[in-house]
Symmetry: C2
Subunit: 456 residues, 2 copies
């Protein structure tokens, strides 16, 4: 049986046909691949790196099961020698990467794999699959956090996430970026993420009247009484909450909040706040959901709409305004020689690279420099070794620690980017040494750089 | 350990807190929920139902493991009686649904669950998660197929899919809708989907020259020689293919095709076609990838661009132009009485419903009627019973059979919708009996419909 989340067959067919050719022709020297984003989406001024832990787990565990090899044999595409070779194939390379939660920009590698060519090649598909998704979600979530740093933000997106793994990884990426937690229960045991929940309209509808529904829910779940008030008439329901709250209070049950999930959320929140306040329920919070994204949160924050927290689902888990990143995992060096792809509109900066970040006296990010690894520079080097010989170089960091680091990163972001704008764009400088290397490769007028001096 | 793709915790926390209240207050009568799309995205004139098989598998297998129950107990949110109850909870309901591959429109339920309230409620999150994603992808893929029915379309999207499950389910949904297959290897053993692959730029770059790369790949993979020709200079590479092909031919190896993955695909394809034809390589096909979607395919088809097949990745697997569907799973009846949610902008058609489809003499779809189930009508009823007492009512259909059915569905689509337009929209009529039921519920001026006569 194929394990949907762990199979070595979670790869593109061409990786295996290429590996078969590498194997047959002895191309097993050291390759260096880097993962980077070519160009930020129009709607993004920065990105937040995420997904590294899942990549490292994948690399540590990667192997072909007997059943997988049998299936491959049955395709008739692979010879015996190659299938034998796959049986023993493990990832034994080095990985350098930016820590999860690090902010980054276009043309900056966030991960570098250094390994025998077949190993570094095989892992491409799943590695992009894992880094692309969580980075996209963490970046979207970070924008929501910046739009309302003092609000409680909860991931509500499981139902619109693309399958199960997307649901739990979206919860993880959003928590990393500063969300309070997720409604997705599995994210609790998997990642230790706090889980949140209220009630659905169906709960109200399944009762003969709304008041009974509220009372029943509170009686059974006294520790988490957040009542959904927009099933029929939002203001009427708020009045019911006002009538119910003192009765519950006598039984030691506190109404924590109400949730509004439809209509003009701002207008509804103002009316509901008035009703709650008129009844002395100043501590009952208002939680809003339904098509929420960072643009709406920012508008409401600017307008001082009395909403205390947001459930963010569809727009978060699909990154709806920027539903993909233009990212790539590209060969930058093979057998000691830098490589450069020159396809129209898709050329890459060659060689092994490092990114140095500089800060102003106020601790705010000033600019980054992308350069070749042997061009040592001042500044903070963002890529650090995280895997050695196929094993983690450090123990797995806690998600809480990564989340705190991500918050520090957001605190160092220049003001225009905090405002969700893109102008002026953050300054990423390509070093002179990197430009020279690229020019030398281009001027070689060869298919490739095979007459260039070996590096390192 | 939590099984990421099968855990009963793949649900929202509120389902469990609601279930605890249902349990405590004895609300276990029969509930009817329906899944439907409220409104088609601007960019869609029709949708294709998909994901049912995964839903049925989930419902058949659903149970809480000892470890999951232990984790729930540790949250302190759930009482002993409820945890005991969860231990034995299984889905034992009925499901009616449209077959996968069926075309549908807004306000039409594509799936109806009839089960004791807690069972029907609990499954909401994962059921939407599964139906939403595959339906969205099948709908996008169907548009690609309509744009170029005679081209070979292959899913290249695994790397930009949202995790592993999204990758393999996207491959499945695209194949259902008429794609030739997928590059994702795991989709082969999981679903019997044909897998396709060529080579990556890294393969070319890892060789000292492009010609050696081509020759090595062909020697090792003689049955699948599709050469990637845009790593450095596309036309120069096409000339190399022309030089290499006769030499390979002498060794019994046929160059099947070339792939172009950058630049102006149409212009590049025309130039490459000329070079291939000038060298007598009329049977070598041209395969194109890079930011391909149905709009580009349609434009190229209209312009007779000499491209024989497309690899469609990012835009397919993220449904980039319409990255989510406005879908819902709503309570329509409880304890024999129809229910209607009346939230602003989100009100629903109440009761158990059926959709009847009518066809013209030419076999083309004419209109649909949505009505209550006891309002028997002429026309083809689209919802059929697929699960009885928690077990499949029929054996699992083969994906090939579903794919043939989907092709028939597309063949019956009115011409304007085949052209990817939305005007005139397909006619979905709400029956008089359904309108009357909704009006009766509204005029009851009650929270709910508890004084209405019981149905069925």
């Amino acid at each position: 049986m194929i394990d949907i989340s762990r199979s070595a067959l979670l790869t593109d067919l061409y990786q295996l046909t290429m590996l078969q050719a590498y194997r047959q022709h002895g191309q097993e020297e050291t390759a260096v691949f880097e993962f980077f984003v070519r160009k930020l989406p129009e709607q993004r001024g920065f990105l937040m790196a995420a997904g590294l832990e899942q990549v490292l787990q994948y690399l540590e565990e990667l192997h072909f099961t007997a059943e997988e090899l049998q299936w491959l044999a049955g395709t008739g595409k692979f010879n015996h020698d190659f299938l034998d070779y796959l049986k023993d194939l493990r990832f034994r390379g080095e990985v350098h990467a930016m820590a999860e939660g690090t902010l980054f920009f276009s043309d900056e590698p966030i991960l570098r794999v250094t390994a025998p060519l077949p190993q570094a090649q095989l892992v491409e598909s799943r590695l992009i699959n894992l880094l692309h998704f969580q980075t996209m979600i963490a970046s979207k979530a970070a924008r929501c956090v910046l739009a309302a740093p003092d609000k409680q933000l909860v991931d509500f997106g499981f139902r619109r996430a693309h399958g199960a793994e997307a649901g739990v990884l979206a919860a993880r990426a959003a928590y990393l970026a500063g969300f309070a937690g997720s409604a997705t229960v599995a994210a609790g045991p998997l990642f230790g993420i706090p889980t949140y929940g209220t009630m659905a309209h169906s709960f109200i509808q399944a009762h003969d009247d709304e008041m009974t529904a509220f009372a029943n829910f509170a009686a059974t779940n006294p520790g988490a009484v957040v009542l959904l008030i927009d099933t029929y008439d939002t203001e009427a329901a708020a009045q019911k909450v006002a009538a119910l709250a003192p009765r519950l209070h006598q039984r030691g049950i506190t109404v924590k909040g109400v949730r509004i999930d439809s209509g003009d959320l701002a207008e509804n929140a103002r009316r509901v706040r008035r009703i709650l306040d008129q009844n002395g329920l100043h501590d009952v919070t208002i939680f809003a959901s339904s098509s929420v994204d960072e643009y709406l949160i920012k508008e409401y924050s600017d307008d001082l709409v009395p909403i205390d927290g947001y459930g963010i689902g569809t727009h978060l888990d699909t990154s709806a305004d920027a539903p993909y990143l233009d990212c790539a995992y590209k060969l930058q060096e093979y057998a000691g020689r830098p490589r450069r792809k020159r396809s129209e509109g898709k050329s890459t900066w060659p060689g092994r690279k490092q990114v140095y970040r500089h800060y102003g006296d106020n601790g705010i990010m000033l600019n980054d420099v992308v350069t070749v690894v042997d061009d040592l520079r001042d500044g903070r080097p963002l890529l650090q070794q995280v895997m050695h010989d196929g094993l983690r170089a450090q123990p797995e960091p806690s998600l809480t620690a990564l989340r705190e680091y991500a918050a520090q990163e957001l605190a160092s972001l220049p003001a225009p980017l905090c405002e969700l704008g893109r102008e002026p764009p953050y300054s990423v400088l390509i070093s002179e040494s990197l430009r020279k290397l690229a020019a030398r490769l281009d001027s070689a007028k060869l298919d490739d750089a095979y007459d260039l001096p070996r590096v390192q």
